[in-house]
């Protein structure tokens, strides 16, 4: 499994055309040279994260979990609710707004996390083994959701060891010991 920061660096340096991300961040710019605040803004506005272990706030409703990135971009509460409901609708959890993570299945939790990644309309969604903690049925649901989102125009980078998952991507970059060994479209 990769560490997030090298992925981010790799993704921004060689995989993604950064001009598409933002005019602020030029092609080839090393993100670890950005200040902490700039990094935070970059994560907030341009990147959505999906983790293997979901990383939802416990004892906090699905709605509030999804809203969290918007808090840090200074969106007022009413708009946050509206956008979070929309995002949860996209991932098919409109009826679980007030459920806490403990009241959701693993697949549902991951969908909440995807909604959270989507909420700020990021230029890039990074998914680190998104199905690693799920049974195959929920995993399949999550992958088709990601495929759908990808087809709707979202850029998604999935890090995985599973070649079956990799085959569903439009472009596969194989990395070994930090070096790119192949890049197939």
């Amino acid at each position: 499994m990769f560490v997030l920061q090298p992925i981010l660096k790799m993704a921004l340096k060689s995989v993604i055309n950064l001009n598409k991300v933002s005019k602020k961040y030029e092609m080839g710019e090393e993100v670890h040279n950005l200040s902490e605040v700039e990094q935070a803004n970059l994560r907030n506005e341009h990147i959505g994260f999906i983790f293997q272990i979901f990383n939802l706030l416990p004892r906090t409703s699905a709605l509030e979990n999804v809203e969290m990135p918007l808090i840090y971009s200074g969106v007022p509460k009413s708009q946050r609710d509206e956008r979070a409901i929309k995002a949860l609708e996209i991932v098919g959890l409109k009826d679980k707004l007030q459920n806490k993570p403990s009241q959701l299945s693993g697949g549902q939790q991951q969908r909440v996390a995807i909604a959270r990644a989507l909420i700020n309309n990021p230029s890039l969604i990074l998914a680190d083994e998104p199905t690693g903690n799920l049974d195959s049925k929920s995993g399949e649901e999550i992958l088709s959701l990601l495929n759908r989102l990808n087809n709707e125009g979202n850029t998604i980078v999935v890090v995985t060891h599973d070649s079956d998952i990799a085959r569903r991507a439009k472009r596969i970059i194989t990395i070994k010991d930090g070096e790119i060994v192949s890049d197939k479209k």
């Binding site: 920061q5 902490e36 935070a40 994560r43 907030n44 994260f49 808090i71 840090y72 200074g74």
Partner: protein, 399 residues
């Protein structure tokens, strides 16, 4: 990130761990409670003393044994035990004339007053014949102590309301014999109600006896105080000068102090002020301890919520956002504790008012509130800084 959002977050995390929050706040609650209570007591005592002095009338000048500096008791406390003031001094001063109308001496002690197996502790005041007149103390029944009683050393006593209730009940005390020290004294009068001040005691537990009898009971010839009545309020400085001039011929400068009621009052209030500040200061130490408790629990909270911090940073929280969130949480804890402490302290002070004079002042409440908020900031910053500096990746992987 707007402040109301941060407040909502901190209130939620505080209510999530109710027991822990209450225990953490307890330190601040106790600190603020004791500061408020002690300062209220000091203030109340000071108000009470001021009130009593105002009742005494303002034309009275006091001669007290020992040297009392103008800036308070810089020369040591009044030296009652080693007093060199005598009845002769009082009598001489009374005859000085000029701005001085009259003068009397007194000595007092806490002593038991006994009647047929019953006894009551109270203040026994031995005074010169003019003492009661000087201090405008009147009797509600019987008669006051006269010059003749003093001159002949008659075993007589004028006793207060509370003493009578305790010793005699419904029986008419006039003419009955009470025992004070080793002397049998005939009750000749009952004091008018001198007012009560709860636990401090009141004038109603006093007994007045001739000074000549008191010196026999207490075994000392010296006076604890000479009271001088000036002709008028305007003549007080002249009267003080006269008394000083006379006393300097009789005694050394260090043996006595002359002051009028206003300077005596300011001296007493000064002592009470120092006492209040000292007590408040000691209580304030517990506020610091409370602050350390908050810091401790916030450090635990930061460690516990490392993952949450990592996640918040991953989705775009800046170090400042995390810092503010945890500082506000500490401040909410301490201010909440402070408000509860103020309510309990002020409530306690008001409840105590019936047995001990207390006065809850606005400044002590606002000070306690401000201090608890500052405690929250000061002791909240270190844990919050720790939280804000966490690396998002390390924090997310923290187990």
């Amino acid at each position: 990130m707007d402040l109301s959002e941060i407040f909502r977050l901190s209130i939620r995390s505080i209510t999530r761990n109710k027991t822990r929050s209450v225990l953490t706040m307890l330190g601040i609650i106790i600190g603020v409670f004791s500061v408020i209570l002690l300062v209220s007591l000091g203030q109340g005592l000071s108000d009470f003393v001021t009130g009593q002095f105002e009742k005494l009338g303002s034309n009275i000048i006091y001669v007290i044994p020992g040297k009392i500096g103008s800036g308070g008791f810089s020369g040591g406390p009044p030296n009652f035990a080693g007093s060199k003031l005598t009845l002769k001094h009082a009598a001489d001063i009374a005859k000085l004339g000029g701005a001085i109308l009259d003068a009397g001496g007194e000595t007092q002690s806490i002593s038991a007053v006994k009647y047929r197996g019953k006894s009551m502790y109270g203040t026994v005041v031995g005074g010169t014949g003019n003492y009661m007149r000087l201090h405008t103390i009147s009797v509600s029944a019987g008669r006051a102590i006269t010059e003749t009683d003093v001159k002949l050393g008659r075993g007589v006593a004028v006793i207060g309301k509370d003493v009578i209730t305790k010793l005699f009940g419904q029986v008419n005390p006039i003419g009955k014999e009470v025992i004070i020290g080793n002397q049998n004294l005939t009750v000749i009068g009952v004091l008018s109600d001198l007012g009560s001040a709860g636990a401090i005691g009141s004038g109603n537990d006093h007994s007045f006896i001739p000074i000549t009898v008191a010196t026999k009971i207490f075994g000392s010839d010296n006076l604890q105080m000479i009271s001088i009545k000036a002709v008028s309020k305007e003549e007080i400085p002249t009267a003080i000068k006269q008394a000083k001039k006379y006393l300097l011929r009789q005694l050394k400068e260090d043996d006595f102090s002359v002051m009028d009621s206003s300077s005596l009052l300011s001296t007493i209030n000064q002592i009470l002020g120092v006492l209040t500040a000292a007590l408040g200061g000691i209580a304030a130490i517990s506020l610091v301890v409370g602050g350390v408790g908050i810091m401790n629990i916030m450090l635990v909270t930061v460690t516990e919520r490392t993952k949450e911090i990592g996640l918040r940073k991953a989705v775009g929280a800046k170090p400042k956002d995390i810092l503010i969130q945890f500082v506000i949480e500490a401040v909410v804890l301490s201010v909440l504790g402070g408000v509860i402490g103020i309510l309990i302290g002020a409530g306690g002070a008001l409840a105590m008012n019936s047995i001990f004079p207390t006065s809850v002042s606005f400044w002590s409440v606002s000070l306690a509130f401000g201090v608890s908020a500052i405690v929250g900031v000061v002791f909240g910053v270190a844990p919050a800084l720790k939280a804000s500096r966490l690396n998002p990746i390390d924090a997310l992987r923290y187990e």
